[in-house]
């Protein structure tokens, strides 16, 4: 499916956010790398998908009404065996049922688990005053605590993204500290640039939140994608 079709189907379903599996399909169209994944509706499909992807895997709830997945126990990391995955499926659905009640569940995302890199965040919004803007900053919860972020207007090129990156504290870590190898800064910049392209080329997007984004010495991947549509 092309992104136009995905977005049209979101609107016709009345979704405020693009479901995560579809968000990755859009990412792929814009050369934004993400781990291998499969969207499944049954445990059997899930076990099969995990074999294809390779263990360990991460599973996540996919529901149009669950935006903050972790808060309802809707994410389980590091499942290493079919047995663990089997149990994980049950636990995930139980968590969500307990904490989010009878929300509609579209299915489950089975995602390749990545080794630990440097966690950063990339995002963007169509701002009422500035138009499309992209954000880069520290990942995970650090982004909220330290407000370690830097903005640029989109579109922007690789060099501008590099300067944006260098304004943050996250950059100091990405460069490599205490003998750790430097991350692939060009790959991180590429994600920033392409997030800008998403916002400038798709006028229906209100906000984009890629957090975390994992940076490695040889690449950079979006591990969680939340894309909000305009009303």
């Amino acid at each position: 499916m092309k992104y136009e079709d995905i977005i049209a189907s979101c609107y016709s379903n009345g979704y405020g956010f693009i479901p995560e599996p579809d968000a990755y399909k859009i990412c792929a169209e814009f050369a934004i790398p993400h781990p291998r994944f499969s969207f499944v509706r049954t445990k059997k499909e899930g076990l099969h998908a995990a074999e294809e992807i390779g263990y360990p895997v991460v599973i996540k709830i996919v529901s149009p009404e669950v935006i903050h997945k972790s808060e309802v126990g809707g994410v389980i990391l590091d499942l290493r065996t079919p047995q663990e995955l089997d149990e994980g499926f049950d636990r995930l659905l139980k968590n969500v049922r307990e904490k989010a009640g009878g929300v509609p569940i579209s299915g489950i995302l089975v995602q390749q688990s990545m080794s630990a890199g440097v966690e950063v965040a990339v995002g963007g919004a169509d701002n009422p005053q500035f138009g499309p803007v992209v954000m880069f900053g520290s990942g995970g919860i650090l982004i909220e605590v330290f407000k370690d972020v830097s903005f640029r207007l989109a579109p922007l090129d690789q060099e501008e993204a590099r300067r944006q990156l260098e304004e943050t504290m996250a950059y100091e870590i990405l460069k490599g500290v205490r003998g750790r190898p430097a991350c692939d800064l060009e790959a991180v910049c590429q994600v920033i640039v392409n997030t800008g392209r998403l916002l400038t080329e798709i006028p229906q997007l209100a906000e984009i939140d890629f957090n975390p984004v994992q940076a490695f010495p040889d690449g950079c991947f979006v591990l969680d994608a939340r894309i909000k549509l305009k009303n």
Binding site: I67, A121, G123, G124, A125, N127, Q129, F130, G131, V133, M135, I143, E144, K147, V149, S150, F151, R152, L153, L156, E160, R163, Q164, E167, A206, E207, I208, D209, N211, R226, K228
Partner: protein, 478 residues
């Protein structure tokens, strides 16, 4: 994204108005309508000034007219200083005059009581704008001090009189902030001013158009911008991007608002306060954003007077340890700055010239001359450092000792600076810790193009800003 040339020509007519009428001119000292006349008269203005007031015959020696329609000569600019409720009728009279005589390019509405004042005021402001703009008349304000041009002599303000000329043009969304700067700087001649616009409510003429206008204005070397907020921030940034290719824009942005809660459903939304976006967008556009008022004041005037650094290698020459150390601390925190690595011969020259108590180039980029330097030696030492090709800019610090003559010291500093032909000069910031206590020396330095500062840490920020802009310009002109 260029504005049609007609906008530029219209603004040009305001700054170079051949005649200025003041509706609401007053003979009562202390009233804005009187002060505007007095300040207008102080300027070297070649055009005519026409007070308009139905109940006076002369004001400050000028013939006063009953209404705008009967003013005989050319009136390019009209200033309105009336109660808000009377401004719309005044605008109608101005339009009637324009229809008859074909003049009046712009109106400055000084009066308050418009969109800053609730729904009634908004309605009134809209009416005012529509009447004027529909008839080809530009509106500055309302709720502002209006415009000043030190070269043409046009001055509609009631807070700033005759002012030293120079390369700084200032556009501000706050009359109080901008006037504070200009008046603070006035006694010692710290600012050389070209054009000043207090924009008020920006009902018509706004910061975007003025940026573009000043970008093309040859006498403007630097644009100082005080901004609180503007609806179309993107267009402002686009205009700034164009202009900063040619000349620096220094901005102070107040009003740190957060995005509405509707956007707070994602991390990006909740922390994407518009202030953080301004920060990034200004950098992207080459706009120098000052973090503090002091940094803004000093950065603007340094850009206005000094040549731009051709590189990022800066030298500190100090007479005093404490302020020198503070300056070095701050300068070494600026990522874009390198402490200059001077040549061995320069070091030898310094050692030969300075007293044995001096600490030469230790640490690198830093020489403490100590108090044992007289006025003439200052000149020599400055020349030695400035002629080293490894130095792109110099910060000089002192607390002029009682045994030195501050005038003589200033003259020697000027002599050193001006011993180089203009195109080879490097930026020099003179930090005189005594501030206003050495007013005479500072006046000499300022009048000769050397900005004098009071705070060593601010001086470091200012130098870093000069370098940032040079690097930006080098990048975009590639």
């Amino acid at each position: 994204m260029q504005q049609p040339e007609v906008g530029h020509d219209q603004l040009d007519m305001l700054f170079n108005a051949r005649g200025v009428a003041i509706i609401g001119a007053s003979s009562v000292p202390g009233k804005p309508g009187n002060q505007i006349i007095l300040f207008a008269l102080e300027m070297d203005y070649q055009g005519a000034i026409y007070p308009v007031n139905p109940s006076a015959t002369t004001i400050s020696g000028l013939k006063c007219y009953k209404n705008i329609g009967e003013v005989p000569g050319l009136v390019d600019l009209v200033v309105v200083v009336l109660p808000a409720a009377a401004c719309v009728d005044a605008a109608k009279e101005i339009v009637a005059r324009k229809k008859e005589k074909g003049d009046v390019a712009g109106v400055v509405v000084v009066s308050a009581g418009f969109s800053e004042h609730g729904a009634d005021g908004r309605q009134r402001e809209q009416e005012l704008r529509e009447i004027l703009v529909a008839n080809g008349i530009r509106l500055v304000g309302p709720n502002c001090q209006g415009i000043m041009d030190t070269y043409s002599g046009v001055n509609t303000t009631f807070d700033v009189g005759r002012y030293p000329r120079g390369g700084l043009s200032f556009i501000a969304q706050s009359g109080a902030f901008s006037v504070s700067y200009l008046e603070w700087a006035h006694p010692l001649g710290l600012v050389g001013l070209n054009k000043y616009v207090s924009m008020g409510n920006m009902a018509d003429v706004n910061a975007i158009e003025l940026l573009r206008y000043l970008g093309k204005d040859e006498r403007t070397r630097v644009i100082a911008l005080y901004l609180e907020g503007i609806g179309n921030a993107r267009e402002l940034i686009e205009a700034a991007t164009e202009v900063s290719k040619r000349k620096p824009i220094v901005a102070f942005k107040a009003g740190k608002t957060e995005l509405g809660s509707q956007a707070a459903q994602t991390h990006t939304g909740s922390i994407a306060g518009s202030d953080a976006i301004y920060d990034g967008a200004f950098r992207q556009a080459g706009v120098i954003r000052a973090a503090t008022v002091a940094e803004f004041y000093d950065t603007c005037r340094a850009f206005g007077k000094l040549p731009r650094p051709r590189g990022n290698r800066i030298y500190i020459l100090t007479v005093v340890g404490g302020p020198g150390t503070i300056c070095l601390d701050e300068l070494s925190r600026a990522k874009q700055i390198r402490m200059a690595q001077i040549a061995e011969t320069t070091k030898e020259n310094l050692r030969a010239t300075l007293a044995p108590t001096a600490t030469v180039d230790r640490p690198r980029g830093y020489t403490d001359m100590t108090g044992a330097v007289n006025e003439e030696l200052h000149q020599e030492v400055l020349k030695i450092v400035l002629s080293d090709p490894n130095v792109d800019g110099l910060i000089y610090l002192t607390t002029p000792p009682a045994f030195l003559d501050e005038r003589k010291l200033a003259e020697n500093l000027v002599a050193a600076y001006q011993s180089f032909p203009e195109e080879q000069r490097k930026p020099v910031l003179a930090v005189l810790g005594y501030g206003y206590a050495v007013a005479e020396g500072r006046k000499i330095l300022e009048a000769n193009g050397l900005p004098t500062l009071e705070y060593p840490d601010v001086a470091a920020k200012v130098m870093a800003n000069l370098v940032t802009y040079s690097q930006y310009q080098a990048r975009v002109s590639k």
